[in-house]
Protein backbone atom coordinates (compact mmCIF):
# COMPACT_ATOMS: atom_id res chain seq x y z
CA UNK A 1 0.00 0.00 0.00
CA UNK A 2 2.91 2.31 0.83
CA UNK A 3 4.32 1.83 -2.68
CA UNK A 4 0.94 2.55 -4.28
CA UNK A 5 0.58 5.73 -2.23
CA UNK A 6 4.11 6.82 -3.15
CA UNK A 7 3.40 6.37 -6.86
CA UNK A 8 0.02 8.05 -6.48
CA UNK A 9 1.57 11.08 -4.79
CA UNK A 10 4.22 11.28 -7.54
CA UNK A 11 1.60 11.16 -10.30
CA UNK A 12 -0.56 13.77 -8.55
CA UNK A 13 2.43 16.04 -8.05
CA UNK A 14 3.46 15.50 -11.65
CA UNK A 15 -0.03 16.37 -12.89
CA UNK A 16 -0.67 19.45 -10.78
CA UNK A 17 2.79 20.94 -11.45
CA UNK A 18 2.40 20.61 -15.20
CA UNK A 19 0.62 22.59 -17.89
CA UNK A 20 -1.98 19.81 -18.20
CA UNK A 21 -2.90 20.26 -14.52
CA UNK A 22 -3.32 24.01 -14.97
CA UNK A 23 -5.47 23.42 -18.05
CA UNK A 24 -7.73 21.06 -16.10
CA UNK A 25 -8.09 23.68 -13.37
CA UNK A 26 -8.95 26.37 -15.92
CA UNK A 27 -11.42 23.96 -17.55
CA UNK A 28 -13.12 23.42 -14.18
CA UNK A 29 -13.39 27.15 -13.52
CA UNK A 30 -14.65 27.80 -17.05
CA UNK A 31 -17.25 25.06 -16.63
CA UNK A 32 -18.40 26.59 -13.37
CA UNK A 33 -18.60 30.06 -14.89
CA UNK A 34 -20.57 28.89 -17.92
CA UNK A 35 -22.97 26.37 -16.35
CA UNK A 36 -23.27 27.64 -12.77
CA UNK A 37 -22.77 31.37 -13.21
CA UNK A 38 -23.58 32.93 -9.80
CA UNK A 39 -25.24 35.94 -11.50
CA UNK A 40 -27.81 33.72 -13.17
CA UNK A 41 -30.82 32.13 -11.47
CA UNK A 42 -30.29 29.18 -9.15
CA UNK A 43 -30.35 25.82 -10.95
CA UNK A 44 -32.30 23.05 -9.27
CA UNK A 45 -30.72 20.19 -7.31
CA UNK A 46 -31.17 17.51 -9.96
CA UNK A 47 -29.44 19.72 -12.57
CA UNK A 48 -26.61 20.34 -10.09
CA UNK A 49 -26.10 16.62 -9.31
CA UNK A 50 -26.40 15.45 -12.92
CA UNK A 51 -24.22 18.09 -14.58
CA UNK A 52 -21.43 17.98 -12.02
CA UNK A 53 -21.55 14.16 -12.07
CA UNK A 54 -21.14 14.17 -15.86
CA UNK A 55 -18.37 16.74 -15.60
CA UNK A 56 -16.54 14.50 -13.10
CA UNK A 57 -16.88 11.50 -15.41
CA UNK A 58 -15.57 13.43 -18.42
CA UNK A 59 -12.73 14.93 -16.39
CA UNK A 60 -11.63 11.61 -14.90
CA UNK A 61 -11.53 10.14 -18.40
CA UNK A 62 -9.16 12.87 -19.59
CA UNK A 63 -7.04 12.82 -16.43
CA UNK A 64 -6.68 9.05 -16.60
CA UNK A 65 -5.41 9.38 -20.17
CA UNK A 66 -2.92 12.03 -19.01
CA UNK A 67 -1.72 10.09 -15.97
CA UNK A 68 -1.40 6.84 -17.89
CA UNK A 69 0.61 8.62 -20.55
CA UNK A 70 2.98 9.98 -17.86
CA UNK A 71 3.23 6.57 -16.21
CA UNK A 72 4.17 5.08 -19.58
CA UNK A 73 7.37 7.15 -19.79
CA UNK A 74 10.59 5.17 -19.96
CA UNK A 75 12.10 7.29 -17.17
CA UNK A 76 9.85 5.44 -14.72
CA UNK A 77 10.93 1.96 -15.90
CA UNK A 78 13.39 1.47 -12.99
CA UNK A 79 10.53 2.21 -10.60
CA UNK A 80 8.30 -0.34 -12.25
CA UNK A 81 11.11 -2.92 -11.97
CA UNK A 82 11.20 -2.33 -8.20
CA UNK A 83 7.55 -3.26 -7.68
CA UNK A 84 6.67 -6.82 -6.69
CA UNK A 85 3.59 -6.60 -8.92
CA UNK A 86 2.74 -4.46 -11.92
CA UNK A 87 -0.81 -4.17 -10.61
CA UNK A 88 0.46 -1.77 -7.93
CA UNK A 89 1.56 0.55 -10.73
CA UNK A 90 -1.82 0.37 -12.45
CA UNK A 91 -3.63 0.91 -9.18
CA UNK A 92 -1.58 4.06 -8.57
CA UNK A 93 -2.49 5.43 -12.00
CA UNK A 94 -6.16 4.70 -11.33
CA UNK A 95 -6.09 6.12 -7.81
CA UNK A 96 -4.24 9.30 -8.78
CA UNK A 97 -6.76 9.94 -11.57
CA UNK A 98 -9.71 9.48 -9.24
CA UNK A 99 -8.16 11.75 -6.61
CA UNK A 100 -7.21 14.48 -9.12
CA UNK A 101 -10.62 14.46 -10.79
CA UNK A 102 -12.30 14.24 -7.38
CA UNK A 103 -10.49 17.36 -6.16
CA UNK A 104 -11.51 19.34 -9.23
CA UNK A 105 -15.06 18.01 -9.09
CA UNK A 106 -15.30 18.97 -5.43
CA UNK A 107 -13.99 22.44 -6.26
CA UNK A 108 -16.66 22.79 -8.94
CA UNK A 109 -19.33 21.45 -6.59
CA UNK A 110 -18.40 23.94 -3.85
CA UNK A 111 -18.18 26.89 -6.23
CA UNK A 112 -21.51 25.96 -7.75
CA UNK A 113 -23.18 26.21 -4.36
CA UNK A 114 -22.63 29.99 -4.50
CA UNK A 115 -26.11 31.14 -5.47
CA UNK A 116 -26.73 27.48 -6.23
CA UNK A 117 -29.47 25.08 -5.23
CA UNK A 118 -30.34 24.32 -1.64
CA UNK A 119 -29.67 20.65 -1.07
CA UNK A 120 -31.53 18.59 1.48
CA UNK A 121 -29.57 16.26 3.77
CA UNK A 122 -30.81 13.17 1.90
CA UNK A 123 -29.74 14.72 -1.41
CA UNK A 124 -26.27 15.41 -0.01
CA UNK A 125 -26.02 11.82 1.20
CA UNK A 126 -27.04 10.56 -2.22
CA UNK A 127 -24.38 12.50 -4.11
CA UNK A 128 -21.13 10.60 -3.23
CA UNK A 129 -22.29 7.14 -4.40
CA UNK A 130 -23.60 8.58 -7.66
CA UNK A 131 -20.57 10.72 -8.51
CA UNK A 132 -17.98 8.26 -7.24
CA UNK A 133 -19.39 5.18 -8.97
CA UNK A 134 -19.66 7.08 -12.27
CA UNK A 135 -16.11 8.35 -11.92
CA UNK A 136 -14.69 4.93 -11.01
CA UNK A 137 -16.27 3.14 -13.93
CA UNK A 138 -15.23 5.91 -16.34
CA UNK A 139 -11.63 5.91 -15.03
CA UNK A 140 -11.34 2.14 -15.52
CA UNK A 141 -12.82 2.44 -18.98
CA UNK A 142 -10.30 5.17 -19.77
CA UNK A 143 -7.47 2.87 -18.65
CA UNK A 144 -8.45 0.51 -21.46
CA UNK A 145 -8.06 3.36 -23.93
CA UNK A 146 -4.44 4.07 -22.91
CA UNK A 147 -1.21 2.77 -24.40
CA UNK A 148 -0.17 1.79 -20.89
CA UNK A 149 -2.81 -0.93 -20.64
CA UNK A 150 -3.51 -1.82 -24.25
CA UNK A 151 -2.23 -5.29 -25.06
CA UNK A 152 -2.39 -6.19 -28.73
CA UNK A 153 -5.90 -5.52 -29.98
CA UNK A 154 -7.43 -5.28 -26.48
CA UNK A 155 -8.46 -1.63 -26.94
CA UNK A 156 -10.33 -2.50 -30.13
CA UNK A 157 -12.07 -5.46 -28.47
CA UNK A 158 -13.16 -3.55 -25.36
CA UNK A 159 -14.46 -0.47 -27.16
CA UNK A 160 -15.79 -2.58 -30.04
CA UNK A 161 -17.94 -4.58 -27.64
CA UNK A 162 -19.06 -1.35 -26.00
CA UNK A 163 -20.01 0.09 -29.40
CA UNK A 164 -21.95 -3.05 -30.29
CA UNK A 165 -23.81 -2.86 -26.99
CA UNK A 166 -24.65 0.79 -27.55
CA UNK A 167 -25.76 0.07 -31.10
CA UNK A 168 -27.80 -2.94 -30.00
CA UNK A 169 -29.53 -0.83 -27.37
CA UNK A 170 -30.86 1.56 -29.96
CA UNK A 171 -31.91 -1.05 -32.49
CA UNK A 172 -35.66 -0.99 -33.35
CA UNK A 173 -38.11 -3.82 -34.07
CA UNK A 174 -38.32 -2.57 -37.64
CA UNK A 175 -34.59 -2.96 -38.24
CA UNK A 176 -34.49 -6.39 -36.54
CA UNK A 177 -37.38 -7.50 -38.72
CA UNK A 178 -35.69 -6.17 -41.87
CA UNK A 179 -32.42 -7.87 -40.96
CA UNK A 180 -34.17 -11.18 -40.30
CA UNK A 181 -36.04 -10.86 -43.66
CA UNK A 182 -32.75 -10.34 -45.50
CA UNK A 183 -31.23 -13.37 -43.79
CA UNK A 184 -34.37 -15.34 -44.65
CA UNK A 185 -33.96 -14.47 -48.35
CA UNK A 186 -30.29 -15.42 -48.29
CA UNK A 187 -31.16 -18.77 -46.70
CA UNK A 188 -33.88 -19.31 -49.31
CA UNK A 189 -31.44 -18.65 -52.17
CA UNK A 190 -29.10 -21.26 -50.74
CA UNK A 191 -31.90 -23.78 -50.43
CA UNK A 192 -32.02 -23.77 -46.64
CA UNK A 193 -35.80 -23.76 -46.59
CA UNK A 194 -36.36 -24.56 -42.90
CA UNK A 195 -33.98 -21.86 -41.70
CA UNK A 196 -35.48 -19.38 -44.16
CA UNK A 197 -38.98 -20.17 -42.90
CA UNK A 198 -37.96 -19.74 -39.26
CA UNK A 199 -36.28 -16.42 -40.00
CA UNK A 200 -39.28 -15.18 -41.92
CA UNK A 201 -41.60 -16.11 -39.04
CA UNK A 202 -39.27 -14.30 -36.63
CA UNK A 203 -39.28 -11.23 -38.90
CA UNK A 204 -43.07 -11.21 -39.04
CA UNK A 205 -43.33 -11.69 -35.28
CA UNK A 206 -40.93 -8.80 -34.64
CA UNK A 207 -42.84 -6.57 -37.02
CA UNK A 208 -46.01 -6.95 -35.03
CA UNK A 209 -44.42 -7.09 -31.58
CA UNK A 210 -44.32 -4.31 -28.99
CA UNK A 211 -41.35 -5.81 -27.13
CA UNK A 212 -37.83 -5.49 -28.46
CA UNK A 213 -35.83 -8.43 -27.07
CA UNK A 214 -32.39 -7.44 -28.34
CA UNK A 215 -32.70 -3.82 -27.29
CA UNK A 216 -33.98 -4.87 -23.89
CA UNK A 217 -31.23 -7.45 -23.43
CA UNK A 218 -28.40 -5.14 -24.42
CA UNK A 219 -30.03 -2.17 -22.76
CA UNK A 220 -29.90 -4.03 -19.47
CA UNK A 221 -26.13 -3.48 -19.42
CA UNK A 222 -26.72 0.26 -19.44
CA UNK A 223 -29.54 0.12 -16.94
CA UNK A 224 -27.47 1.50 -14.00
CA UNK A 225 -26.77 4.73 -15.94
CA UNK A 226 -30.46 5.09 -16.80
CA UNK A 227 -31.42 4.32 -13.18
CA UNK A 228 -29.05 6.98 -11.86
CA UNK A 229 -30.38 9.57 -14.31
CA UNK A 230 -33.98 8.65 -13.45
CA UNK A 231 -33.29 8.73 -9.72
CA UNK A 232 -31.63 12.13 -9.90
CA UNK A 233 -34.23 13.73 -12.14
CA UNK A 234 -37.06 12.15 -10.13
CA UNK A 235 -35.75 13.71 -6.94
CA UNK A 236 -35.09 10.38 -5.21
CA UNK A 237 -34.10 6.78 -5.78
CA UNK A 238 -36.38 3.78 -5.59
CA UNK A 239 -35.03 0.70 -3.81
CA UNK A 240 -34.02 -0.88 -7.14
CA UNK A 241 -32.48 2.32 -8.53
CA UNK A 242 -30.40 2.63 -5.38
CA UNK A 243 -28.55 -0.50 -6.47
CA UNK A 244 -27.24 1.23 -9.59
CA UNK A 245 -24.02 2.64 -8.02
CA UNK A 246 -23.16 -0.81 -6.67
CA UNK A 247 -23.66 -2.37 -10.10
CA UNK A 248 -21.49 0.33 -11.67
CA UNK A 249 -18.77 -0.51 -9.17
CA UNK A 250 -19.16 -4.16 -10.12
CA UNK A 251 -18.66 -3.22 -13.78
CA UNK A 252 -15.59 -1.20 -12.75
CA UNK A 253 -14.18 -4.15 -10.82
CA UNK A 254 -14.62 -6.48 -13.80
CA UNK A 255 -13.06 -3.96 -16.18
CA UNK A 256 -10.17 -3.32 -13.75
CA UNK A 257 -9.42 -7.03 -13.44
CA UNK A 258 -9.39 -7.19 -17.23
CA UNK A 259 -7.08 -4.15 -17.44
CA UNK A 260 -4.79 -5.63 -14.79
CA UNK A 261 -4.64 -8.87 -16.76
CA UNK A 262 -3.67 -7.03 -19.97
CA UNK A 263 -1.15 -4.86 -18.13
CA UNK A 264 0.50 -7.77 -16.35
CA UNK A 265 0.97 -9.76 -19.54
CA UNK A 266 2.11 -7.06 -21.93
CA UNK A 267 5.52 -5.90 -23.08
CA UNK A 268 6.27 -2.52 -21.57
CA UNK A 269 7.21 -0.46 -24.61
CA UNK A 270 7.52 2.80 -22.71
CA UNK A 271 7.86 6.10 -24.51
CA UNK A 272 10.71 8.59 -24.17
Amino acid sequence: MNRILTLTSYLLRSLFTSLAGVIYLILTLAFWFILFNPRQKTPDASYYILVIGLFGAALVFLITLTNASRANKVELAPWLVRLPSRIEYLTAVFLSSIIAAGILQLLLALLSLISGPTLTFSQVLGIPPVWLSTMVVTAVLALHATDLVTHGWSRVYVFGILAVLLFGRSVTNQSISGFASNLSEMALNRGWYEISESLRNFAVAQQGSDTNIISQLLGFVFWPFQALADGISGGGFTAVEALAPAILLLYAAILFVLAADFFAAKDMQMTE
Binding site: T6, T17, K73, V81, R82, D267
Partner: protein
Protein backbone atom coordinates in the same frame (compact mmCIF):
# COMPACT_ATOMS: atom_id res chain seq x y z
CA UNK B 1 20.70 -16.38 -8.99
CA UNK B 2 18.71 -16.65 -12.24
CA UNK B 3 18.49 -19.01 -15.17
CA UNK B 4 17.49 -18.09 -18.70
CA UNK B 5 16.22 -21.06 -20.67
CA UNK B 6 15.82 -21.01 -24.46
CA UNK B 7 14.46 -17.49 -24.46
CA UNK B 8 13.44 -15.93 -27.77
CA UNK B 9 12.01 -12.51 -28.36
CA UNK B 10 11.01 -10.78 -31.55
CA UNK B 11 9.52 -7.41 -32.36
CA UNK B 12 7.29 -7.82 -35.40
CA UNK B 13 9.63 -9.36 -38.01
CA UNK B 14 12.86 -8.56 -36.15
CA UNK B 15 14.27 -11.42 -34.11
CA UNK B 16 15.90 -9.60 -31.18
CA UNK B 17 16.88 -12.72 -29.23
CA UNK B 18 16.99 -16.24 -30.56
CA UNK B 19 17.02 -19.21 -28.19
CA UNK B 20 19.23 -17.72 -25.50
CA UNK B 21 20.24 -19.86 -22.51
CA UNK B 22 22.34 -18.46 -19.71
CA UNK B 23 22.89 -19.10 -16.03
CA UNK B 24 23.87 -16.21 -13.77
CA UNK B 25 25.07 -17.43 -10.39
CA UNK B 26 25.43 -15.59 -7.10
CA UNK B 27 28.38 -13.19 -6.92
CA UNK B 28 29.25 -13.31 -10.62
CA UNK B 29 29.84 -10.24 -12.77
CA UNK B 30 28.64 -11.23 -16.21
CA UNK B 31 29.76 -9.00 -19.06
CA UNK B 32 27.47 -8.86 -22.07
CA UNK B 33 29.23 -7.69 -25.19
CA UNK B 34 27.94 -7.29 -28.69
CA UNK B 35 27.52 -4.80 -31.49
CA UNK B 36 24.62 -2.36 -31.53
CA UNK B 37 21.37 -4.22 -32.16
CA UNK B 38 22.79 -7.52 -30.87
CA UNK B 39 19.97 -7.85 -28.32
CA UNK B 40 21.77 -6.74 -25.14
CA UNK B 41 19.18 -4.21 -23.99
CA UNK B 42 16.35 -6.60 -24.91
CA UNK B 43 17.98 -9.23 -22.69
CA UNK B 44 18.23 -6.71 -19.82
CA UNK B 45 14.60 -5.68 -20.22
CA UNK B 46 13.48 -9.32 -20.26
CA UNK B 47 15.37 -10.03 -17.03
CA UNK B 48 13.98 -6.83 -15.50
CA UNK B 49 10.48 -8.06 -16.35
CA UNK B 50 9.63 -5.17 -18.65
CA UNK B 51 9.33 -7.53 -21.59
CA UNK B 52 7.84 -11.01 -21.74
CA UNK B 53 9.64 -13.74 -23.68
CA UNK B 54 7.94 -15.15 -26.78
CA UNK B 55 9.40 -18.55 -25.95
CA UNK B 56 11.41 -20.01 -23.09
CA UNK B 57 11.49 -18.74 -19.54
CA UNK B 58 13.55 -16.82 -17.03
CA UNK B 59 13.43 -18.14 -13.50
CA UNK B 60 15.27 -17.65 -10.23
CA UNK B 61 17.63 -20.43 -9.23
CA UNK B 62 16.67 -20.16 -5.57
CA UNK B 63 12.91 -20.24 -6.17
CA UNK B 64 12.42 -16.61 -5.17
CA UNK B 65 12.99 -13.66 -7.46
CA UNK B 66 15.84 -11.47 -6.26
CA UNK B 67 15.26 -7.74 -5.92
CA UNK B 68 16.65 -6.08 -9.02
CA UNK B 69 18.36 -2.72 -9.31
CA UNK B 70 18.14 -1.64 -12.94
CA UNK B 71 20.34 1.03 -14.46
CA UNK B 72 19.00 1.75 -17.92
CA UNK B 73 21.15 2.62 -20.89
CA UNK B 74 19.19 5.83 -21.52
CA UNK B 75 19.74 8.44 -18.83
CA UNK B 76 16.15 9.64 -18.54
CA UNK B 77 14.70 10.90 -15.27
CA UNK B 78 11.69 12.92 -14.12
CA UNK B 79 13.52 16.20 -14.74
CA UNK B 80 11.43 18.36 -12.44
CA UNK B 81 12.50 16.42 -9.37
CA UNK B 82 15.61 17.16 -7.37
CA UNK B 83 18.27 14.47 -7.06
CA UNK B 84 17.41 13.61 -3.44
CA UNK B 85 13.64 13.71 -4.10
CA UNK B 86 14.05 11.23 -6.94
CA UNK B 87 16.04 8.87 -4.76
CA UNK B 88 13.48 9.22 -1.94
CA UNK B 89 10.78 7.98 -4.29
CA UNK B 90 12.98 5.01 -5.28
CA UNK B 91 13.64 4.26 -1.59
CA UNK B 92 9.89 4.28 -0.82
CA UNK B 93 9.23 1.96 -3.75
CA UNK B 94 12.06 -0.33 -2.66
CA UNK B 95 10.38 -0.89 0.69
CA UNK B 96 12.88 1.10 2.77
CA UNK B 97 11.15 2.03 6.08
CA UNK B 98 10.12 5.70 6.24
CA UNK B 99 12.43 6.34 9.20
CA UNK B 100 15.44 5.22 7.15
CA UNK B 101 14.68 6.95 3.85
CA UNK B 102 16.85 9.98 4.52
CA UNK B 103 19.80 7.87 5.68
CA UNK B 104 19.47 5.50 2.71
CA UNK B 105 19.37 8.37 0.23
CA UNK B 106 22.40 10.00 1.85
CA UNK B 107 24.36 6.74 1.79
CA UNK B 108 23.50 6.22 -1.83
CA UNK B 109 24.51 9.76 -2.76
CA UNK B 110 27.77 9.38 -0.84
CA UNK B 111 28.53 6.14 -2.58
CA UNK B 112 28.31 7.67 -6.04
CA UNK B 113 29.77 11.04 -5.03
CA UNK B 114 26.64 13.12 -5.55
CA UNK B 115 26.15 14.53 -2.04
CA UNK B 116 26.87 18.09 -3.15
CA UNK B 117 24.27 17.81 -5.91
CA UNK B 118 21.53 16.38 -3.65
CA UNK B 119 19.33 19.48 -3.88
CA UNK B 120 19.99 20.19 -7.52
CA UNK B 121 17.16 19.67 -10.04
CA UNK B 122 17.90 16.64 -12.21
CA UNK B 123 17.34 18.89 -15.21
CA UNK B 124 20.58 20.72 -14.38
CA UNK B 125 22.70 17.56 -14.00
CA UNK B 126 25.48 16.80 -16.46
CA UNK B 127 25.74 13.46 -18.24
CA UNK B 128 28.31 12.23 -15.72
CA UNK B 129 26.04 13.15 -12.82
CA UNK B 130 23.13 11.43 -14.50
CA UNK B 131 25.19 8.25 -14.90
CA UNK B 132 26.01 8.37 -11.20
CA UNK B 133 22.40 9.12 -10.30
CA UNK B 134 21.26 6.17 -12.41
CA UNK B 135 23.69 3.94 -10.51
CA UNK B 136 22.58 5.44 -7.18
CA UNK B 137 18.93 4.59 -7.83
CA UNK B 138 19.90 1.04 -8.81
CA UNK B 139 21.75 0.67 -5.48
CA UNK B 140 18.93 1.95 -3.27
CA UNK B 141 17.50 -0.75 -1.04
CA UNK B 142 20.67 -2.81 -1.42
CA UNK B 143 19.38 -5.16 -4.15
CA UNK B 144 21.47 -8.32 -4.55
CA UNK B 145 21.15 -8.31 -8.35
CA UNK B 146 22.13 -5.36 -10.50
CA UNK B 147 21.46 -4.84 -14.17
CA UNK B 148 23.89 -2.20 -15.42
CA UNK B 149 23.28 -1.31 -19.04
CA UNK B 150 26.30 0.61 -20.32
CA UNK B 151 27.19 2.23 -16.99
CA UNK B 152 30.16 4.21 -18.29
CA UNK B 153 28.74 5.24 -21.63
CA UNK B 154 29.59 8.86 -22.38
CA UNK B 155 31.84 9.34 -19.34
CA UNK B 156 35.28 10.93 -19.60
CA UNK B 157 38.30 8.69 -18.81
CA UNK B 158 38.30 9.84 -15.16
CA UNK B 159 34.61 9.10 -14.83
CA UNK B 160 35.06 5.70 -16.46
CA UNK B 161 37.79 4.86 -13.95
CA UNK B 162 35.54 5.85 -11.04
CA UNK B 163 32.65 3.81 -12.41
CA UNK B 164 34.98 0.82 -12.85
CA UNK B 165 36.10 1.13 -9.23
CA UNK B 166 32.48 1.29 -8.04
CA UNK B 167 31.58 -1.85 -9.96
CA UNK B 168 34.62 -3.62 -8.51
CA UNK B 169 33.53 -2.55 -5.02
CA UNK B 170 30.03 -3.90 -5.64
CA UNK B 171 31.50 -7.19 -6.80
CA UNK B 172 33.63 -7.34 -3.67
CA UNK B 173 30.44 -6.92 -1.63
CA UNK B 174 29.06 -10.04 -3.26
CA UNK B 175 26.55 -8.43 -5.60
CA UNK B 176 25.57 -10.29 -8.73
CA UNK B 177 25.94 -7.99 -11.70
CA UNK B 178 24.94 -8.20 -15.32
CA UNK B 179 26.91 -5.58 -17.17
CA UNK B 180 26.64 -4.44 -20.75
CA UNK B 181 29.40 -2.28 -22.15
CA UNK B 182 31.30 -1.30 -25.25
CA UNK B 183 34.36 -0.51 -23.08
CA UNK B 184 36.39 -3.71 -23.46
CA UNK B 185 39.04 -2.82 -20.84
CA UNK B 186 36.24 -2.23 -18.33
CA UNK B 187 34.71 -5.62 -19.07
CA UNK B 188 38.14 -7.31 -18.89
CA UNK B 189 38.84 -5.83 -15.48
CA UNK B 190 35.54 -6.37 -13.69
CA UNK B 191 33.75 -9.31 -15.28
CA UNK B 192 34.11 -12.91 -14.18
CA UNK B 193 31.98 -14.29 -17.01
CA UNK B 194 31.83 -13.23 -20.60
CA UNK B 195 28.91 -13.51 -23.02
CA UNK B 196 29.13 -12.18 -26.56
CA UNK B 197 25.84 -11.63 -28.36
CA UNK B 198 25.41 -11.05 -32.05
CA UNK B 199 22.19 -10.87 -34.02
CA UNK B 200 20.23 -12.16 -31.04
CA UNK B 201 22.33 -15.26 -30.48
CA UNK B 202 25.03 -16.10 -27.97
CA UNK B 203 28.18 -16.37 -30.07
CA UNK B 204 30.59 -16.92 -27.22
CA UNK B 205 30.26 -17.77 -23.55
CA UNK B 206 33.11 -18.49 -21.16
CA UNK B 207 34.65 -17.46 -17.87
CA UNK B 208 36.80 -14.37 -18.31
CA UNK B 209 39.91 -16.21 -17.11
CA UNK B 210 39.44 -19.03 -19.60
CA UNK B 211 38.53 -16.61 -22.37
CA UNK B 212 41.78 -14.69 -21.98
CA UNK B 213 44.12 -17.64 -21.48
CA UNK B 214 43.23 -19.41 -24.70
CA UNK B 215 45.42 -18.88 -27.73
CA UNK B 216 48.69 -17.77 -26.10
CA UNK B 217 51.20 -16.66 -28.74
CA UNK B 218 54.64 -15.16 -29.17
CA UNK B 219 55.41 -12.22 -31.43
CA UNK B 220 58.99 -11.65 -32.64
CA UNK B 221 59.52 -8.27 -34.27
CA UNK B 222 62.50 -7.63 -36.57
CA UNK B 223 63.99 -4.32 -37.67
CA UNK B 224 62.76 -4.63 -41.25
CA UNK B 225 60.31 -6.46 -43.47
CA UNK B 226 60.71 -10.23 -43.44
CA UNK B 227 59.26 -10.99 -46.88
CA UNK B 228 62.54 -12.50 -48.14
CA UNK B 229 62.64 -15.27 -45.56
CA UNK B 230 58.86 -15.53 -44.90
CA UNK B 231 58.40 -18.74 -46.99
CA UNK B 232 61.24 -20.57 -45.24
CA UNK B 233 59.98 -19.52 -41.77
CA UNK B 234 56.39 -20.49 -42.51
CA UNK B 235 57.59 -23.83 -43.84
CA UNK B 236 58.88 -24.69 -40.34
CA UNK B 237 55.41 -25.10 -38.89
CA UNK B 238 51.85 -24.27 -40.01
CA UNK B 239 51.42 -22.17 -36.83
CA UNK B 240 54.25 -19.83 -37.82
CA UNK B 241 52.91 -16.75 -39.54
CA UNK B 242 54.93 -13.86 -40.94
CA UNK B 243 53.22 -10.50 -41.06
CA UNK B 244 55.41 -7.61 -42.25
CA UNK B 245 58.21 -7.20 -39.70
CA UNK B 246 56.66 -9.69 -37.24
CA UNK B 247 56.66 -13.43 -36.85
CA UNK B 248 53.69 -14.79 -34.89
CA UNK B 249 54.12 -18.20 -33.26
CA UNK B 250 50.98 -19.95 -32.06
CA UNK B 251 50.46 -23.21 -30.16
CA UNK B 252 53.28 -25.75 -30.73
CA UNK B 253 55.17 -23.29 -32.94
CA UNK B 254 56.06 -21.40 -29.76
CA UNK B 255 58.63 -24.13 -29.10
CA UNK B 256 60.43 -22.95 -32.25
CA UNK B 257 61.16 -19.54 -30.75
CA UNK B 258 64.91 -20.11 -30.27
CA UNK B 259 65.29 -21.61 -33.73
CA UNK B 260 63.50 -18.69 -35.41
CA UNK B 261 65.49 -16.13 -33.42
CA UNK B 262 68.71 -17.86 -34.53
CA UNK B 263 67.53 -17.93 -38.14
CA UNK B 264 66.72 -14.22 -38.12
CA UNK B 265 70.10 -13.28 -36.65
CA UNK B 266 71.84 -15.58 -39.07
CA UNK B 267 70.09 -13.87 -42.01
CA UNK B 268 71.25 -10.45 -40.76
CA UNK B 269 68.03 -9.20 -39.20
CA UNK B 270 68.08 -7.39 -35.92
CA UNK B 271 65.44 -8.59 -33.42
CA UNK B 272 63.95 -5.51 -31.78
CA UNK B 273 61.16 -7.05 -29.68
CA UNK B 274 60.02 -10.44 -28.42
CA UNK B 275 56.71 -10.64 -26.60
CA UNK B 276 54.67 -13.50 -25.23
CA UNK B 277 51.00 -12.54 -25.38
CA UNK B 278 47.61 -13.85 -24.37
CA UNK B 279 44.63 -13.23 -26.52
CA UNK B 280 42.96 -9.87 -25.85
CA UNK B 281 39.27 -9.39 -25.28
CA UNK B 282 39.15 -7.37 -28.48
CA UNK B 283 40.40 -10.43 -30.37
CA UNK B 284 37.91 -12.73 -28.62
CA UNK B 285 35.14 -10.26 -29.45
CA UNK B 286 36.23 -9.87 -33.05
CA UNK B 287 36.39 -13.61 -33.60
CA UNK B 288 32.98 -14.19 -31.99
CA UNK B 289 31.26 -11.40 -33.88
CA UNK B 290 32.85 -12.20 -37.22
CA UNK B 291 32.07 -15.89 -36.89
Amino acid sequence: MIEINNVSKSFYSVQALDNISLKITQGEVVGILGPNGAGKTTLFRLIAGLLKPDAGDIRPLSGKWPTIGYKMERLLFPNRLKVSQYLSYVAHLSGVPSSEIEKTVFESLTRVGLVDQAHQPINNCSKGMRQRLALAQALIGNPPFLLLDEPSNGLDPGGQGEMLQRIQDLHAEGKTILLSSHQLPEVTQVCTQLVILNRGRIQYQNSMVDALTVSPHTIITADRDLWEIAPSLEALNPDVQVDGRSVVLRNEAMELRREILARLLQEGYDVVHVERKQITLAEVYERAVLS
